[in-house]
Amino acid sequence: MLRFMALAFFSLIMILFFSGCTDFDEPNQLAFVLGTAIDRADNGEMEISHQVVITSQAPSKGGSFGGSNHFIILSAKGKDIYEAQQKIQRETSRRLMMNHRILIAISEEYFNQNDVRKIFDKLGRDPANNLRDIIVLIKGASAKQFLKMKHPMEPLSSIGEDKKMQTNAIRNFSSRTLIIETLSEGTRSMLPVIQIKPSKKGSNLMSTNTIVSKYAVLDKQLKVKGIVDDVEGAKVGWMSGNETVQGITIPWKDGIGYLSFRLNHLKRRIHAVRVEESKQIIMSVKAQAYLLENTTQLNLSEVDNMIVIQNYMNKQLEKEMQQTVDKVQNWGADVFGIGEYLHRKYPYWWKSKKEDWDQHFKEMDVKVQVNIELKSIGMIGKL
């Protein structure tokens, strides 16, 4: 036993010696990259910008990280991501730490003029990426510009954008989902878009005046086919199986009053019968609604009115969503994942269609059915 232990201890020491004791990184040898911007540069090159947190300016004793001036942007140009990154690394005193990245911003210009799928090769191949970072498309300014902007509440613009999405239950826009969607045949991707409006005073503070959120619908080649606003985008999200709609406001018949609801338990189901002949797809969405605001003349303590409202809401929403579906269908980008559904349900039929699914998708007859249950009218009937 004693000999065994001595031997074990000796071999342990040996392992430690041979492994080399220097492959650890102290936190003060690391530069934490929280945001990355990809822009187009001249000669077909790309410009990579890293938003790096400065941890060395300790704000208070033992304190945590905070403050508005605690980041720098490091950027370099290169033929691919790795080359640009190496250029940045050579000029930086600390090792770039990509694992904590929150956001990748890609400018619209780059999207339009390059094959974006090449970017995701690096993201998917390099194990140093955590794939939890969200990917956004920047419109109206360069992506680098977005990283430079200051957020009024959060220390970094990327943290602000990430928190905004989390608070509003906008999920499924991580680079991981994007890569999965790119690899699958029967579904197309949607990306959050941040439109930056040029501000008058030249201030680069983020606010509702300078930032507008939208969604870009991409095709198989990850080209932007069209852009929908955030209300429509949320509905598309609902119809593609993500719970993104949190509330809706619909005008009442008379055009004067409005009704606002909070929605939860969002569900959607795709249904197809004999798709070979009819090409008809039924997209049924379900939810539970809670009335939050009522500026119409209706007295909701009467049950009849509740039923009227519920039916009206279903009809109204059906109309709006059908419009959205038609719009997206025109672009030929199946962000709903209908192709995936058909792939599973009609595998043989799908084989012949999958090659140019975008074209076939345009020809499908997608009908929206809305079934919302009004759960509560709130605490008062009528004011």
Binding site: M1, L2, M5, A8, L12, I15, L16, S19, C21, F24, D25, E26, P27, N28, L30, F32, L34, V53, T55, S56, A58, P59, K61, G62, G63, S64, F65, M97, N99, H100, I102, N130
Partner: protein
């Protein structure tokens, strides 16, 4: 073996020779009415003189040897006819035994012309009263703790188990100390193999002295070089009684309040007497916290170092940025910083143990103010390290048995060193090594990790979850699984 001679002068001379330079020895001679010579030998301060005077000296001096139906000729006859009003009286012929009895505090009476001595058990010496055990206090349950006196301690156990199957075998160990050791067990419940093993080992012990029960512990243990104790010690008679009923064996040593219990398992050290005194639902929760804390106690420094220097991607962004900001100005690598603080913490702890009570607060002031605050403000030690070290220190104190915390305090260093060189690979390696060691270890035939490995469905009912007493399906007949 020398025998007592019939000549009183000769006996006195040999006693004085053997016990020369013993200033506490008292030898007193009397001449009775009928002119028989009497010699009283005892050690001052260890004998209850009052009862000797009342029961022996007075009748002998004032009325001489009694005359009854027939004349009593010898002292031996006196005892035979139960004339001496003392409860514990016997005669002895061997000189060595006589000296031994005198040294133990008994009174020896020698008579001229008789080759035997009367030994009267009239020991009495100053001793501490029964107090609440300070190290193992509980919120509920008996407030009695063991004392230094062997007989008091056996009586504390006897009072709890009133049954003839409670056996107490006596041993005398130590060439010079002649320490009394009592082997207590429940006959029929305790494992005979373990008993035979312990008896054999007790007979083999060859030491000059047994000052504390720890002396026996090291003689009895099978795997001496293990970090983990294979014998538990306790000051609480209720724990001993409960252990005896579980089939364990207790060793009570004269001169120390710490009673040894064997065999034990890894989990014994993590169980407290309060676990059996409080409501079991609460106990289940407390045990979960205690086990978690025990894990923290040996692993947190290693996990922190591995996380912050090898796997910073595993730490949430904001926490990592917080750690990075706090560590910016730190002059040493995280490992060195951690080692430094661990050594300081253990040093403080060691100082606290040795410090007299009046000086105790000084240590906490030095520890809290100078090391805690000043070191952080000077930027030598970073705040997260202080948090980790304090949490580790506190966690170690949730382990009820002090002796069970000691291996954790050592493993802490080993794990830290491996993790600082290999990250979580090293940490896992260390844990696996530790588990192999624990699974291989045995305490008197009981696997150390039982009832987990090997699994025992009945006994596991008292491990993580303490089942209520009525659900535990009867007594555990055997300790061995």
């Amino acid at each position: 073996m020398r025998l007592i001679s019939s000549s009183l002068q000769e006996n006195e001379a040999s006693l004085r020779e053997q016990l020369a330079n013993c200033s506490d020895l008292v030898i007193r001679s009397f001449t009775l009415k009928d002119e028989s010579l009497l010699l009283l030998v005892y050690l001052d301060g260890m004998t209850k003189l009052q009862s000797v005077e009342d029961n022996l000296l007075k009748p002998l001096i004032f009325s001489g040897l009694p005359h009854g139906i027939a004349r009593i000729q010898t002292l031996t006859e006196m005892i035979k006819h139960e004339w001496l009003p003392l409860s514990n009286v016997k005669t002895d012929e061997s000189l060595e035994d006589l000296i031994q009895h005198i040294l133990q505090g008994n009174l020896a009476i020698l008579v001229d012309g008789e080759a035997s001595a009367i030994i009267a058990g009239v020991q009495e010496f100053e001793k501490r009263g029964i107090e609440e055990p300070k190290k193992e206090s509980t919120l509920r349950g008996a407030k009695e703790g063991f004392v230094e006196n062997l007989r008091t301690n056996t009586s504390l156990i006897r009072r709890r188990i009133i049954h003839p199957q409670l056996k107490m075998e006596s041993y005398t160990i130590g060439k010079y100390t002649q320490t009394g050791v009592v082997l207590a067990y429940m006959q029929g419940i305790a494992d005979e193999k373990v008993l035979a093993d312990v008896r054999g080992k007790l007979d083999e012990i060859d030491v000059d002295g047994v000052i504390e029960s720890s002396y026996l512990e090291e003689w009895l243990e099978n795997t001496s070089f293990s970090m983990f104790p294979q014998i538990m010690n306790t000051e609480r008679p209720d724990i001993v009684a409960a252990s005896l009923l579980e089939g364990k064996i207790a060793l009570i040593t004269n001169g120390t309040p710490f009673v040894l219990i064997l065999p034990i398992t890894f989990w014994s050290g993590l169980q407290s007497a309060d676990d059996y005194f409080e409501r079991f639902v609460f106990v289940v929760c407390m045990r979960a916290i205690r086990y978690l804390m025990a894990f923290i106690a040996f692993s947190l420094p290693a996990i922190y170092v591995a996380l912050s220097t090898f796997h910073s991607e595993m730490v949430p962004v904001n926490l990592m940025l917080g750690i990075a900001t706090a560590r910016e100005s730190a002059p040493f690598p995280t490992v060195i910083e951690m080692l430094l603080m661990m050594v300081i913490f253990d040093g403080l702890q060691e100082a606290g143990v040795h410090l007299p009570n009046q000086l105790g607060p000084i240590i906490s002031i030095i520890g809290a103010l100078i090391i805690g605050q000043a070191a952080v403000e000077a930027g030598i030690i970073s705040t997260p390290i202080i948090i980790v070290i304090s949490l580790t220190g506190v966690a170690a104190y949730t382990i009820p048995k002090y002796s069970a915390t000691l291996p954790f305090r050592m493993i802490r260093y080993i794990l830290l060193l491996i993790s600082s060189l290999l990250g979580f690979v090293g940490f896992t390696f260390g844990i696996i090594f530790l588990l192999i060691n624990l699974v291989m270890l045995e305490s008197f035939g009981t696997p150390y990790m039982s009832p987990v490995a090997p699994f025992d469905g009945t006994r596991i009912k008292d491990m993580i979850i303490r089942y209520p007493f009525w659900m535990k399906n009867g007594r555990n007949k055997k300790v061995r699984s």
